[in-house]
């Protein structure tokens, strides 16, 4: 279609070069973001754009999948994982810039239900067993799932509740099970329910499980990219930290 319209192409490419010329210094970086950090990352990218002019193109998914893709040559320049293990592995395997790894957020676990009044402020509902299904994220793939198992174990309820546990492949899916009502309650990320009105919840005390540290790393693909390096720097700024806090994470 377009190929038969040389005028259009000329006009388009002219406009394009004008646009690009006007922002000669603005770059673009591709960022792989763990699904639980979606909303916060979107806001951070918008602020980042306003501050620096650089575009951060975000892809959302599970950390495990991203790691596999990065190990196989995916073009991401920055990796915001949901855990410590995968960025550490990326560093060890020479996929990341040494020493660039840092904790950008610490997640909080919450027991959440769509049903008002089902979950009390102390998590006692778990001992009553008045539910059919409890959803968690796969503990092998997601730190939030691991934290949920640790919490149940600490409360001495894991063995008793095991038959009622359903696993989502990721924390996103664990949340989806609760949202659709397929499971009455579930352990999800506080960041997922921060904007939810209604329902009932118990924010699990952090002492019940290993801290859910989420680490970021600058990948080798991005070591010469101004935009990638600027994004990592911005992620450590007070401005970004304020955003991250608002979405239900703790920052150091």
């Amino acid at each position: 279609m377009i190929a038969r319209r040389p005028m259009l192409i000329a006009a388009l490419s002219g406009a394009l070069s004008l646009m690009l010329g006007g922002a000669a210094l603005a770059g673009e970086t591709k960022v792989a973001v763990a699904a639980n950090f979606t909303d916060a990352a979107r806001e951070i990218a918008a602020r980042f754009k306003a501050r620096t002019g650089h575009d951060a193109t975000l892809s959302f998914g599970s950390s495990g999948q991203f790691y596999t893709q990065i190990a196989n040559g995916a073009p991401f320049e920055v990796f915001l994982s949901a855990d410590v293990e995968r960025p550490r592995k990326a560093e060890a395997e020479g996929l990341a810039v040494p020493g660039s790894r840092f904790t950008y957020a610490t997640g909080r676990l919450v027991l959440y239900s769509k049903t008002p009044g089902l979950v009390d402020g102390k998590g006692k509902v778990l001992t009553t067993g008045k539910f059919e299904k409890l959803s968690i994220a796969d503990p092998k793939a997601a730190p939030y799932g691991q934290a949920a198992v640790e919490t149940l174990t600490k409360l001495n309820l894991y063995d008793a509740l095991k038959p009622k546990i359903v696993q989502g492949a990721s924390i996103t899916q664990a949340f989806q099970y609760v949202q659709t009502g397929a499971a009455e309650l579930g352990f999800v990320a506080l960041s997922q329910v921060v904007g939810e009105q209604g329902g009932s919840r118990w924010v699990v005390p952090a002492s019940n499980h290993t801290p859910i540290e989420q680490q970021a790393v600058l990948l080798k693909t991005g070591q010469n990219s101004e935009a990638a390096k600027a994004f990592v720097t911005f992620l450590k700024s007070g401005e970004a930290k304020a955003i991250i806090k608002r979405y239900g994470y703790e920052v150091r």
Binding site: K140, A141, T180, A182
Partner: protein
């Protein structure tokens, strides 16, 4: 590992047997009926080929969940939800693999033509008897093809189980979701092993189908 293989085989086996039975009247009607409704129904049956399985799985999660009107009908029988159950996966697989049963059966029934059935009718056979004693024996290759296709397609099912299963060992964890989980959990060695089993299986299935086709000239082409 053996548990996963066994459950996958069980799911595919049960789905295959049920679908061969359920798809027979439907395929017969599509092949030999005269109704104008056949075209929209054919399109409906083919939908699972086009719809992303995750979409199908998500709808099923809602339809089989405790809040769905469908499940309210089952509550008198003590069934609250079919999500996260083996039975739920069977229902999902029946829908997901339906076109793979209907397509070969419909083609087989079409290929019979009118003559053998007319001959049977002339000899005084009831429609029921002529189906059992004339149409069915003539359609055996179609049934074999349908069985192999449905079984294989169900083994390869991923999105539906992913959305609907909840990864319960011995209940809803099948080969495809297990491989996904292993890759996610960085256990690549085990993932490779299971993938290899699946690969060999898939090749054997396709090879068998082609051999069958060469022998009996079944049309496995998707005819719309």
């Amino acid at each position: 590992m053996t548990e996963v293989l066994w459950l996958t085989g069980k799911l595919a086996g049960i789905t295959t047997i049920l679908l061969l039975v359920l798809a027979t009247p439907l395929s017969w009607w599509l092949a030999r009926g005269r109704s104008a409704a056949r075209t929209p129904v054919t399109a409906l049956v083919a939908l699972p080929i086009v719809l992303p399985p995750t979409v199908l799985g998500f709808y099923l999660l809602i339809a089989l969940g405790p809040k769905s009107p469908l499940m309210l009908l089952l509550q008198p029988f003590g069934i609250r939800t079919l999500a996260f159950t083996f039975e739920g996966l069977v229902i999902g697989s029946l829908i997901y693999s339906l076109p793979f049963a209907v397509q070969p059966l419909r083609n087989a029934f079409l290929a019979i033509g009118d003559e053998p059935l007319e001959a049977a009718a002339t000899l005084g056979a009831s429609r029921w008897a002529s189906f059992w004693r004339v149409a069915l024996p003539l359609s055996i290759p179609g049934y074999v093809a349908a069985a192999i296709l449905v079984f294989a397609h169900t083994v390869g099912e991923f999105g539906v189980v992913m959305m609907l299963g909840g990864n319960i060992p011995g209940e809803t964890t099948v080969l495809s979701t297990e491989i996904y989980r292993l890759v996610e959990g960085l256990e690549w060695g085990e993932a490779h092993r299971l993938s290899l089993i699946l690969l060999v299986f898939a090749f054997a299935v396709l090879f068998t189908l082609l051999a069958l086709e060469a022998r009996s000239k079944i049309l496995l082409r998707t005819r719309t």
